[in-house]
């Protein structure tokens, strides 16, 4: 099939188990943030990815550490899956000196050059051209890295996407546009922001190959991402990967906000049934590689790891005020 990842994913059980593990880890991290946010020690806006784990996990599985990722306000999952350090992420959210950017940015500005998470930019669409620029640099340097621009459905309304896509396509640059369509921009449904038509028409109109996939099926995401990344890395030009998924919690903050009734109850219900972890667990259990014991062991391991990370992040010192004036000029 040309543009769509194949139906039932044919991923190896061992790999699927690993992806499931990563999704569970992400879920537990985000839920831990959500639970502890009320302590008012994480004093910055947070955009959680609960419900969208398969996208970050499936895409990052197809990447190398040396690949460059650029993302948005909703960056925790991308940061961690690209190889970022949990303690440094939490420390950043806690505003600590040990945070991945020394407390200068908070949750919306996670980055770690060592793992190739180059930047999180909270201006919608603004990180997309950066990814294309990194791809241009790699192309000129004859490196075989690729760049990834993570974006949400709303970024497809921003001119920046089109300007960057045109240039990437013109120059056949090694960049993957990884779009998580969670149907909403804050409280606003896609239907109120864009005409009804398939979103992959947009990159295709710029001569960009596009893949479309169930974004809650981590195997399918990974398979499509792998195809798209292979296409990109082989020098055939940019690719676009459309992942249909859903955000469970409020746009910004730790809570569920469905009492506000901006989304139909059935819609939310349907997507919760299609929880990425439920989808992968079902497949794994069917194939006999996951059972309660394995799942419990993973959870226990993560509880400890996450607790320790929170403890370290909370303990870490705040930066000195004087540091605020540094790094204005290189």
């Amino acid at each position: 099939m040309d543009d769509h990842a194949s139906v039932a994913s044919e991923i190896e059980p061992a790999q699927l188990l690993r992806l499931h593990r990563q999704m569970l880890f992400l879920r537990m991290v985000e839920e831990a943030i959500a639970v502890r946010y009320a302590e008012q020690e994480m004093r910055c806006p947070v955009h959680l990815s609960v419900g969208q784990e398969a996208a970050a996990v499936g895409v990052c599985e197809a990447l190398l550490k040396t690949d460059h990722a650029f993302t948005t306000h909703r960056c925790h999952a991308h940061y961690l899956m690209k190889g970022g350090d949990l303690v440094r992420m939490l420390a950043e959210i806690f505003g600590k000196a040990d945070g991945c950017v020394g407390g200068r940015g908070g949750s919306m500005h996670l980055m770690d050059r060592d793992c190739g998470l180059e930047a999180s930019v909270p201006i919608v669409g603004a990180s997309i051209p950066l990814a294309v620029g990194a791809a241009l640099a790699d192309r000129l340097d004859k490196k075989d890295h690729i760049s990834v621009a993570f974006l949400g459905d709303a970024a497809l309304e921003e001119g920046a996407f089109y300007e960057a896509a045109n240039f990437a396509s013109l120059r056949k640059l090694p960049v993957l546009f990884a779009c998580e369509n969670n149907l909403y921009s804050c409280y606003t449904h896609l239907d109120q922001r864009q005409p009804s038509r398939n979103l992959t028409a947009l990159p295709k109109a710029h001569g960009i190959r596009a893949w479309e996939v169930d974004g809650n099926d981590v195997g399918a995401v990974h398979e499509a991402a792998h195809e798209a990344v292979t296409h990109v890395r082989s020098g055939q030009g940019p690719a676009f990967l459309l992942m249909h998924t859903y955000r469970w919690l409020e746009h910004c903050g730790p809570d569920n906000d469905d009492h506000l009734q901006y989304r139909p109850e059935e819609e939310y219900g349907l997507w919760r049934e299609r929880c990425p972890l439920v989808v992968s667990a079902a497949s794994l259990r069917e194939r006999g590689v996951l059972d309660d014991a394995v799942e419990d062991a993973m959870r226990a391991e993560f509880v400890t790891r996450i607790d320790e990370a929170f403890a370290a992040a909370k303990q870490a010192p705040l930066p000195e005020p004087a540091a605020a004036a540094g790094h204005v000029y290189a």
């Binding site: 910055c44 505003g95 500005h109 001119g159 922001r193 930066p319 005020p321």
Partner: protein, 359 residues
């Protein structure tokens, strides 16, 4: 008249609802115009007072949609575009400073662009450098635009109404913390002229000109200074463009001293233009060098560990005034300590309840 104590956000909401109801040409555009809490509540129920058609959900496309609003304004609509942060409008900068600001000029007066662009300055709770900029001086650099910064609810309601009635593009810069200021606000529709600064407090020792949220800090400083026998005259600048400094000139003629307090950076800020004009026109009246406060010359950090010292506050303003007036250090220290004590244990990244008013 009974008192109606409401906050600025609510006052703006009333204004928008009343403006939209009385003039069907008023359009309300926003990303999330129909959110449960649209634009910090300032757009709530606006559609119910007007027709549903007047409330327009914007795609996340600032440049295009501001252009759309300008085109509609040229045809007689009165669009009010609201952005949750100043920064989002930077994507629409070209449309604002070329098409909106110059269409009247370049059409030899044929086109009018009765556009309002509301921009919110973020502060606190770790907003970070791209959700906290106060760029009034940047917009004020362009003839053809008007730039206003209401700080108080009654003012805000009337000034926004005047901005909507104005046949020119008006940039409204709303500090998020000002949304919480409360005061007595007239019921019903009224406008408040966009003619210039307002004197908030009389005094003979120094003229303080502040913008937006900094007006509140300046007032608090002035109150504390009064306890130490220093009488500061405080102006709420309100209108950054067109900049009308005649009242401030007269004040400086009396006090001989000028201190500006910017909500944005002090470098290339509004204070620079004010100090330059006063130095130019009231040189002989100044008895001490004019001074400016504002944000230091670096972006806004997110962490509460990095924020101390970043924003001018009442204590800093009092210190500065003390220094200008060469008041004995111990006398000012008392004032400053009192101000610091008033704040108590309150975290640095949340608004001090003091300033809520009512004013």
């Amino acid at each position: 008249m009974p008192e109606r104590i409401i906050n600025l956000a609510e006052a703006l909401r009333e204004c928008l609802a009343e403006s939209a109801a009385r003039d069907s040409n008023v359009l309300v555009l926003a990303e999330g115009a129909e959110d449960p809490v649209p634009m910090f509540g300032t757009l709530r129920d606006v559609g119910e007072r007007a027709t549903a058609e007047q409330v327009i959900e914007m795609p996340v496309a600032e440049n295009g949609l501001v252009g759309v609003a300008i085109g509609a304004a040229m045809m007689g609509k009165r669009p009010v575009v609201s952005f949750q942060r100043v920064e989002f409008a930077l994507l629409a900068f070209e449309q604002i400073v070329n098409n909106a600001a110059k269409a009247h000029y370049i059409s030899n007066g044929e086109h009018k662009v009765p556009l309002v662009v509301r921009l919110v300055v973020g502060r606190g709770w770790g907003q970070g450098p791209e959700h906290s900029q106060s760029l009034e001086s940047v917009f004020a650099a362009f003839p053809g635009l008007k730039v206003i910064m209401p700080a108080f609810p009654a003012d805000g309601k009337g000034m926004l109404a005047a901005a909507i009635e104005d046949d020119n593009p008006v940039i409204v810069i709303e500090h998020r913390w000002c949304h919480y200021t409360t005061g007595d606000v007239p019921a019903g529709y009224y406008t408040e002229s966009l003619d210039g600064p307002r004197r908030i407090r009389e005094g003979s020792d120094v003229t303080i000109v502040a913008t937006s949220y900094m007006v509140l800090e300046a007032m608090r400083a002035a109150d504390a200074l009064a306890a130490a026998g220093v009488q500061a005259e405080v102006y709420d600048l309100r209108v950054v463009r067109p900049l009308n400094l005649s009242a401030i000139e007269e004040s400086v003629a009396r006090t001989g001293r000028l201190l500006t307090v910017d909500t944005g950076h002090h470098m290339f800020g509004v204070g620079a233009e004010i100090v330059a004009q006063i130095a130019q026109r009231r040189f002989g009246d100044l008895t001490a060098p004019p001074r400016r406060l504002g944000l230091p010359d670096h972006p806004t950090p997110s962490s509460r560990g990095l924020v101390p010292g970043f924003y001018p506050d009442a204590a800093r303003i009092a210190e500065e005034v003390g220094d200008m007036l060469a008041i004995p250090v111990d006398k000012v220290a008392g004032v400053v300590d009192d101000l610091r004590r008033l704040r108590g244990d309150l975290p640095i990244d949340v608004p001090d309840p003091f300033f809520k008013g009512p004013f």
